[in-house]
Amino acid sequence: MEPPSQIVSLRTTTTDPDHVKVIQWDDFQHDLARLASLSSALHEANEKKRNLQHKLESLIQVNAESLGRLNELEEMRQKLESKKMLMENMSICSRLAKEEASKQEEQLSGAVQSLLVSGGALSVTSRNLQESSRLLSEENGYVHLRKLQKMLRKRQQYMTSQISMLYPVKILVGPAQEQELEAYPLGSLAGTSAGLKPINQGSLTIHGLHLNVLSFRKMSFFTDKKEIQNSATALGYVAHAVSLIASYLQVPLRYPLRLGASHSYIIDNAPSTELTSSEASSNANINAKHVKFPLFLEGQDTTRAAYAVFLLNKDLEQLLNFIDAKTLGPRHVLANLRELLRTIQSSAFIDNLI
């Protein structure tokens, strides 16, 4: 009696009369049956699951072993594959290196051949160059040039001798004049006697004509007209000779000459400012670019003629310098011309080739 009463008492305890739920027995029984069927289904499912699990475990174990072996084999194969790859790489490297070696050897061989050919050619060409240099210093070059220049100078010498034949520059020597020269110095005579003046002024003549430059500075009514003509003619002759010699030496004259026999002019292409202004003031017609000066007396003005003689002497100086000769001074026109003609006709003119 005790257990049933205990159970009954526990299950039938009453708490709150108002909250008691009323359940129909049929409903209770229905839900109870559903609960029972679900429990039974769960039981069956679990049983089935357990069986499958057992089978699965055994298969998994077998597969695990198999996979282990397969993995081992795969590892071995991979190691083999990596070694194979390594060998292939080494083989490729070896082949590339061999190809590189062959290529380099071929290039080197070609380069050596080329260098040998070039070296040989260079040697031959150097020898030819030396031969050519030797010929240049001998027949083909300097010797030929020297011969040619000598011939040229001989020709120039010959032509200059012809000019000197045409316009001979000589020293006038006579018994009377010689005696007078010995007795009286030239300077003292110049100041004392007008009668002796023409004879003693200058001992040099060109084509038998005196060149009295002093008369250009002391123009007076008593000056002989013939003397003026002689000087003008002498200057004309000098101008002509200078012009010819300059052309044969191929020297462009600093002060070009415009020939007119006894009425020749000398041209200054770049006159100084003072001269230009003075000339402009005196002669408006003169071209400013260059100024020409008369190698003769024109009217009463003797300054321009004197300057013309000075420039003519400058041309003579230029020619003398060209042939390495010394000038004899700014006032000695005939002396310088004589020196020029003499020097060109001397043997030194040919021997002293540069």
């Binding site: 039938t12 429990s39 080494m90 070896s94 080197l108 240049l136 002509h240």
Partner: protein
């Protein structure tokens, strides 16, 4: 509808005190079950044994189920560690709930069983006895309690759920069980799929024997590879050695090449230097050659006194000789021209003295030439002169013609002495007779300017021919060179022939 009605009854109507009260084992709410009276009455009033036997069978099956359930619960903990993937989760959930239920139900089950057995025997006896003694109402209440209690016990043992339970709790529980069933079914499906898969794979499983065989094969291949690798390494070493050797050779070659280029550059420098030197010399040679050729073609007298013409005027050294009505030439120019002509003729006559009898003498004075006749009378050959008073000027010009004629005659006699054929002896192109040149008077008085100018032109042409003869027959050398000049006379003669022909053709043209 029924349930709704039940609830309505519960709330609205007061509970019958006679109906037994229970407590829900889950939510602890009081509950009472109605409608079970009819079943209780049937149960006790029906004396047929078949019914009793059925009830006993039911109880037996319940017990068996309980036993099986116990077994399954014992096994589950072992399976948990081996379980994989999805199965653990639903199993875990299920295990938790059943665990709790199991504990409570387990304790209660043992007591219930022993109690049930004892109670069954006792209760049946008691029921019979009490039924006989009690009034009809009291006996019905007791039977209901007994029946329900036994039902609760059976249900509890079978389903591990404390009974009684209210409908709500039982429905919740049913839903849970339903989900668990679904989970287990899903696990079963997964297991079956895996099983099928594994059974398929089982064919591919590698046996130990095959494994060993394959392993040996691979090891063999590995040994071969090792050998091949060793061979390749050896080959590689050889090639590298070869490359090093080539490197050394290449280095030596580069040194040689550098030396070659140095020598080449040196050579090139020398070549350029040589070429420049050679070009300079060749240029100098060319210049000298040209200059020499020019000078060889040049004659000093021809160069100093070039005779030509400018229209109607004859010119000497570019000075016009003569005058025309339309072209009044200045006296300075005419004087210069006469001066040049006199200097030239004088030079030629002077050269041949004393062979040439220089009877009419010319005194050249630049622009102021004079001429002396055989009587030693001197006439000026320069102007200005008055047309009406030009007797002396005319005389001078006539004397110039006479002198030129004398020189021409001398030249002719010289050619005859040299045995030159008569037709090739020198002869003036324009005849001179007294004061006329080819019938043109050279005087100004009573003469037209045109005729005078033409006469002067012819005179200059004659002078040019005389000059060409002179140049062809003499070297025009100083007296000291006369000996060599004489020695060269034959050559000069041959030269004369050429020059003569050229001179004549030039003059005619």
């Amino acid at each position: 509808m029924k349930k709704g009605e039940n609830k309505g009854r519960t709330r609205t109507f007061p509970v019958d005190p006679n109906v037994p009260r229970w407590v829900c084992q889950n939510c602890r709410n009081p509950l009472c079950i109605v409608g079970a009276d009819s079943y209780a009455d049937k149960f006790f009033n029906d004396p047929s044994r078949y019914g009793m036997q059925g009830s006993s069978i039911h109880v037996a099956s319940s017990v068996l189920s309980t036993t099986k359930m116990d077994n399954s619960y014992v096994v589950l903990p072992k399976q948990k560690p081996q379980a994989q993937g999805n199965p653990p989760r639903p199993r875990g959930d299920a295990a938790a709930q059943p665990g709790k239920a199991m504990e409570e139900s387990f304790v209660v089950v043992y007591k219930s069983e022993s109690g049930t057995d004892g109670n069954a025997v006792h209760s049946s006896g008691t029921g019979a006895d009490s039924g006989g003694h009690l009034p009809p109402h009291n006996s019905g209440f007791n039977s209901t309690i007994t029946v329900l209690t036994r039902a609760f016990e059976i249900a509890t043992t079978q389903m591990q759920v404390e009974q009684p339970s209210c409908l709500d709790c039982m429905r919740i529980l049913s839903d849970k069980l339903d989900k668990e069933v679904e989970d287990v079914n899903r696990d079963i499906e997964a297991y079956e799929a895996c099983l099928k898969c594994l059974e398929g794979e089982a064919r591919d499983v590698l046996s130990e024997a095959d494994f060993l065989k394959e392993k040996l094969k691979i090891e063999e291949e590995e040994r071969r590879l090792e050998a091949a690798i060793e061979a390749t390494e050896r080959q590689n070493a050889e090639v590298n050695a070869e490359l090093r050797e080539l490197e050394l050779k290449s280095s030596r070659f580069k040194e040689l090449e550098e030396r070659y280029w140095h020598e080449f550059n040196n050579f090139q420098f020398q070549l350029i230097s040589h070429q420049e030197e050679r070009d300079a010399i060749l240029a100098k040679i060319e210049v000298s050659q040209a200059h020499l050729e020019l000078l060889k073609r040049t004659n000093v007298l021809n160069d100093a006194f070039p005779i030509s013409h400018d229209g109607e005027f004859g010119t000497i050294n570019n000075f016009r000789l003569g005058r025309l009505p339309k072209i009044p030439v200045e006296w300075d120019e005419i004087n210069a021209a006469w001066g040049q002509a006199c200097l030239l003729l004088h030079t030629m006559c002077q050269y041949f003295r004393p062979k040439f009898q220089y009877r009419i003498k010319i005194i050249p004075m630049g622009s102021y030439p004079r001429i002396t006749d055989t009587n030693n009378s001197t006439y000026e050959l320069f102007g200005p002169v008055n047309l009406f008073w030009s007797t002396r000027y005319d005389k001078a010009m006539t004397l110039f013609l006479a002198c030129l004629k004398d020189f021409a005659d001398f030249a002719k006699s010289k050619d005859q002495e040299n045995n030159i054929p008569p037709e090739k002896c020198f002869k003036l192109p324009y005849k001179i007779e007294n004061d006329k040149v080819e019938n043109y008077s050279i005087t100004q008085s009573f003469n037209k300017q045109e005729n005078w100018t033409k006469s002067l032109k012819y005179t200059l042409c004659n002078l040019k021919w005389a000059l060409y003869w002179f140049v062809g027959n003499t070297n025009f050398q100083p007296l000291s060179a006369m000996v060599s000049s004489h020695a060269e006379v034959p050559a000069v003669g041959s030269l004369y022939t050429k020059r003569g022909v050229d001179a004549k053709s030039e003059s005619r043209n």
